[in-house]
Structure formats: structure tokens, C-alpha cells
Amino acid sequence: MESIGQTGTDRHDRGYLAERGWRSWAFTLDHKRIGAMYLWTTIAFFLIGGLFALLLRLELLSPQTRYFSNHAYNVFFTLHGSMMIFLFIIPAIPSGLGNFFIPLHIGARDVAFPRLNLASYWIFAAGFLVIIGSLVAPMDTGWTFYTPYSAKSAAAVTTLSLGLFLVGLSSILTGLNFLVTIHKMRAPGMTWHRMPLFLWSMYATSIIQVIATPVVGVTFLLLAAERLLGVGFYDPSKGGDPVLFQHFFWFYSHPVVYVMILPAMGIISEVIPVFSRKPIFGYNAIAYSSLAIAFLGFLVWGHHMFTSGMSPLANTIFSFLTFFVAVPTAVKVFNWIATLYKGSITLESPMLYALTFIFLFAVGGLTGPFLGALATNVQLHDTYFVVAHFHYTMMGGTVMGFFAGLHYWFPKMTGKMLNEKVARLAWALIFVGFNVTFFTMFIVGTRGMPRRYAEYLPKFHTENVISTIGSVVLAAGILLMCWNFLQGLRKGAPAPANPWRALSLEWKAASPPETENFHEIPVVTAWPYGYGTTKA
């Protein structure tokens, strides 16, 4: 992060970035610096995870195994999945952008527990170091680590369990910190219903992190105990039950998909009104639907297990409950569209990504009911239809929301403007590449191509070649976007405090904000969505 040609007023202009040297980062208590460290780390894992995805697509160019062994392929998709889930998509928005913007949004100088915040980052770092250490005998179980295979596999499951436990602990402590921050640190006049909607979704996210994560922690502890001590909870030969592992695992891992998507929905709720110059439509509906999603998310974990041998009654109940999740989700989408209606829409890069979110997430969302319904689930279970569905929600949804947030807040975080032309070109490549890669997977999935195999029937060849070509375009777009970020950091034009004419509090701070955010704690008198009215 060099600054060019601003030596005179350098210290002042660089805000919270003024201090230099690794100590000023490693021991910082500034939520903005901690957020920035999370962003650097998680984006690095996003790129590594993406590299594994490209290796998978390379192998799938041909119906027979060609470049890698079956074992290597298994390792690649396991690493792709677990890195993307545990080291990128879960921490990226909450711990990265959340850390940076929650205190700014509520008009506070920092989170409630700055030391705990720093500890969370270093626990996360310890976790990913242990996970990297487990690569001496890399996992080949898939990111779900199902027993009995994970209990018997020669891979370093015990080490990996410890690493994931640490990452989970970090996630819990971050969620706890944010909950308390939102409750206790709001500026005078910042009532609950004047909070930006990003905060409502972060609040719902934090609840899930705090309540669901300990369960997966103990699940991994028991898996390690099964391997080390012969504890038999998941082992049928000792009276245990492998399906119990699945219940425990999904009790966390289903709610956690809302840890992934809710913060992205929060970003969309910020970006859409700013670039439509209209007040957000249905503030209360969007706010409370976040809480509804968090609540319902805890009741539907069984829909991952329709073919695992649950009782027909349990299957029916979980299927029934699953459809309820569609309601608060659709509430959000309709309110965003209603916000767009008759707005003065401009298509800057954050808005492009936000609209992409709505479009792709709608596709991902609408393919969900096919999987939630019992009859079609049995047909589509473990096919590429599932792969396509969750990439449309997780990458088309969460990652596009993350990109929207990065482009929207880049001037605030760095004090530099991005090259808008390059940003739009990168967006176009990502949009096209994404759809070419993943839409074809819906088609081969409905025709019965199973996921997680290095080989496939020759009749799926054409679609797989198309998908691989798409993945190259997608990768080119992402690399171009990253290059644009680096260029922006190095020689972007200085950013004004409020380049998007937005009304939420972070834009009242300098770009980049100074160490304690505000000269004086602001007093809040209105909600942050009064666009197009007298105030904007």
C-alpha cells in the first residue's frame, strides 16, 4: 500500500492507514485494520480455492481421467469446497466487511471488545495454519467429512478437525462481538429502525454464528475422538450411527449457508437505494425477514439428508419446513425490485454486481424448491443440479454481493477510486463466465450426471467442455478485477468522502477514515434511506 505524491500531508490523508510496519497491523485494535486483514486473507483463500476449481474443470475436459488420478481429483474437490466454505465465504463478508463497517454504520469508534476482535483474527490464523498443516495427508472426503469414511480415511482428519474447531471459535467470538456492539455501541439517536439494513443482516448472521457453530465444533471433536480414542457415536459396529454425524453436521452447516448469504443481502440492501436514488422499499420487511431467515434456517437441516435413511415422516416435515425459507427470501427480492421501480438508476460497478446478485440469486433460489421437494430430490440428489444450485446461490449470490460491497466501499476503505471502465469489463467477463460455467451444470444434472467423480459418461462431453471454457472466462474476469483493485490501491485517484452521495454514516467519515472513525460521535436524526426526498 504505497501512496504516491502525497508526502506532505501523508499522515493525515492516509487516515487509519497512516501507521506503517507489520507491528502496526499484527497488534492493531482498530476494527478497520482487523477487517482489512480478514479481507486480504480471505481473498487469498478465494484465489487458491478457485485454482483448485480450475484444476477440476481441466480434468473434466475429458470423460476419462486424463491429467490427475481419482485420488488427486477427490483431494482437489475437497480442498476447493472446504477452503471456499470455511476460509473464504463464511469469514469474508462478516469478519472482513462487517468488521470494517459495523462500527462506522452505527457511529461508534470501534467494536465493543477490540482485544477480543484481534484475538479472533489470530485464532482464525492459527486455524488456517493448522488446516494447511493437515495438507501433509490431504483430505479426500469432500467438504462434508461424512463418516464412516472420514473416521477411517488415511488423511489427516484429526489435524483438520482441530483447525476447523479453531476457525469455528473465531467465528463465534466475532459473532458475539458484533451482537454486543450492535446492542450497546449505537450512536445517540441510532434507534434499531434507523440502522442501515446491512446491520440487521449482520445481527441475524451473528445470532446464527453464536448458536450454530458450537455444534459443529463438538461434532469435529467427536470425530477426532472416534479416531483417537475409539469413541463410537458415529460407528455402527459400536452401536453408533453415521447419520447422527450428518444431523450434527447439518445442524450447523445448513444455518451457516445463511451466515454466507445474509451479509450479502445486507450489502445489496445498501447498494440498491444509493444507485436508484430512492428510499428503500419495505425497510421493516427486509429487516425482519433477516431474522426470519435466521430462525427458519435452524429448522430445515434435514433436507440435506433425504436419501440418508431418515424416516419418511421426518423427511416430510423437513421438506415442508424448507419451503417456508422461500418466503422471507422472496420478501427481500420483491422489496429490492420495488426499490428499483421508477428509480433514477445508474449502473456503476457496485450496482452492476448488485443487480447480478438479484438475477443469479433468483435462479439459485428458484431451483431450491426442486431440491426441497421429496420426489424431485431423490432424482436430483448428488447430481450436478445440486452443484449448479448452490453455486448460483453462493457464488451468484454471496460472492456477487461481496464484489458489490468491495466496489462500493473501495473508496472508503482505501481512499482511492477504482478504474470504473476496467471494473465494468471485469464484471462482464465474470457475468458471462459464471453463467456459461454453471448453467450447463443444471442441464447435465437433470440428465443424471452425478457430482464428485473424475469420470463421466461420454454423452455429457460437450456440456462439460462448454462449462470449462466458461470457467476460464470467469477466472479471467476475477483476475482482472483483482488487478484493478491493486491498480486502484497503487495509483487510483484520491477518493472524496462520499463519492456515491450515500446517506449512511460511514460516508460522513473521511476516506479512508481516521483511526477512531469520527471527530465527534454523530447524533442520528433520521434513517439512512432518504434518497430523492428533501435530504438527498
Binding site: 487509519y16 501507521e19 502496526s24 497488534f27 492493531t28 485494535l29 482498530d30 476494527h31 485494520r33 469508534r109 470501534d110 465493543a112 471488545f113 477490540p114 482485544r115 477480543l116 463465534i172 458475539l176 462481538n177 451482537l179 454486543v180 446492542h183 450497546k184 455501541m185 453464536v210 448458536i211 450454530a212 457453530t213 458450537p214 455444534v215 465444533g217 463438538v218 461434532t219 471433536l221 467427536l222 475422538a225 480414542l229 475409539g230 469413541v231 463410537g232 457415536f233 459400536k238 452401536g239 453408533g240 450411527d241 447422527l244 450434527f248 445442524f251 483511526t515 477512531e516
Partner: protein, 196 residues
């Protein structure tokens, strides 16, 4: 160092924040143990006979002794919190010292119990009942150990003169945590030792 925290907001808010934080953390802990209690419920319903036979192999007397020890330690923690509210740091140190001592007694008794089980060839992998017994009491024991560390930290703070009737947040928070550790045992003792 940048962005120091606590001097910015007023002490009452800091205290309330810490309290909410600890309660939220305890909610997390409930879920952590919750998975094990769920496993207990499932396997108990599935294998009632196994639980009836195996639970008799536990030493009820030592279990009862430990229950008394832990409840007493919760009592001394309360007395410690009460002492610091009245500004009596020496008294706080005495009560927290006693709590740490009682926790150590608890762990020693646990050690004797574990050793006896191993001696009789009962290990975590022996059967589902002993899997549950060792995992639940083991996880609880780890919490006792962590609690001892936290209480010791508070003791050191007090020795250094950092606590008074105006600032005793760490005392109150460590007390909350210790009551939770105690409460878990209140459930573990009857479920494992008493119910046949």
C-alpha cells in the same frame, strides 16, 4: 498501538457490554454441551439396558462428593463477588483462592475416578455409555480447568490492585462463567451416575 477501547465509553456501558458478551458466550456453551446431551438422549432411548448395567459401574460416592465440592465452590464465588462490591479485595482473594482450591479438589477426585475406570479396563471406546461418560465429563473437566485459569487471572488482577468497588467487571464475569460450569455438572451427575 491504535484504537484503544475502554476509555472511550462510559464504565456503565462497558459493564453492560461485558455482561451481554458473557451471557452470549454461555449460550454458545449450552449448544456445545447440547450436542452431547442430544447424543445421550438418543442412545439412552435406543439402548436402555446398556445404560442400566453400565451406569452402576460409576462411583456414586465420589460423584456425590464432587457435586458438594462444586456447589460449595459456586458459593465461595458468590461470596467473592459480594466482597468486592463492598471493596474488600483481601476477602475477594481469599474466596477466589478457596474456589480455585475446590476446583483442584474436583479435578483430583475426577483423576481418581478415571484411574479406577482405566484399571478396570473401561475406556472411552469400551461402549457407548463410557464414550458418553468420558466425553461429557472430559469436556466438563476442560471447562473446570479453563475456569481455574480465569479465576487465577482475576486473583492476579486483584493482587495488583486493579479491582475495587468501582470496577469489578472481571470478578462478576468470571463468576457467571463458574456458575455455568457448576450447572453443567448438576445435570451430568444425575444423568450419568444416578438414573438407571
Amino acid at each position: 498501538m491504535t484504537g484503544t477501547s475502554s476509555e472511550h465509553h462510559d464504565p456503565a456501558v462497558a459493564f453492560e457490554s461485558a455482561k451481554l458478551g458473557v451471557w452470549t458466550f454461555l449460550a454458545t456453551e449450552v449448544l456445545l454441551f447440547g450436542a452431547l446431551f442430544t447424543a445421550y438422549t438418543i442412545f439412552r432411548m435406543k439402548y436402555p439396558e446398556l445404560f442400566r448395567v453400565e451406569h452402576a459401574k460409576l462411583d456414586r460416592v465420589l460423584g456425590a462428593v464432587n457435586t458438594v465440592v462444586l456447589i460449595t465452590s459456586s458459593f465461595t464465588v458468590v461470596l467473592g463477588v459480594d466482597a468486592i462490591r463492598r471493596g474488600k479485595t483481601r476477602l475477594l482473594e481469599a474466596y477466589f483462592g478457596a474456589t480455585i482450591l475446590l476446583a483442584a479438589v474436583f479435578l483430583c477426585v475426577k483423576y481418581v475416578e478415571y484411574a479406577a475406570k482405566f484399571h478396570h479396563g473401561l475406556y472411552p471406546g469400551t461402549n457407548l455409555f463410557f464414550s458418553l461418560y468420558f466425553m461429557m465429563t472430559g469436556l466438563h473437566g476442560a471447562h473446570v480447568l479453563l475456569g481455574m485459569a480465569v479465576l487465577t487471572y482475576v486473583l492476579v488482577l486483584s493482587r495488583r490492585g486493579r479491582l475495587s468497588e468501582n470496577y469489578y467487571t472481571p470478578v462478576e464475569m468470571s463468576g457467571l462463567y463458574w456458575h455455568f460450569v457448576d450447572l453443567v455438572w448438576i445435570y451430568l451427575f444425575p444423568l450419568l451416575y444416578l438414573v438407571g
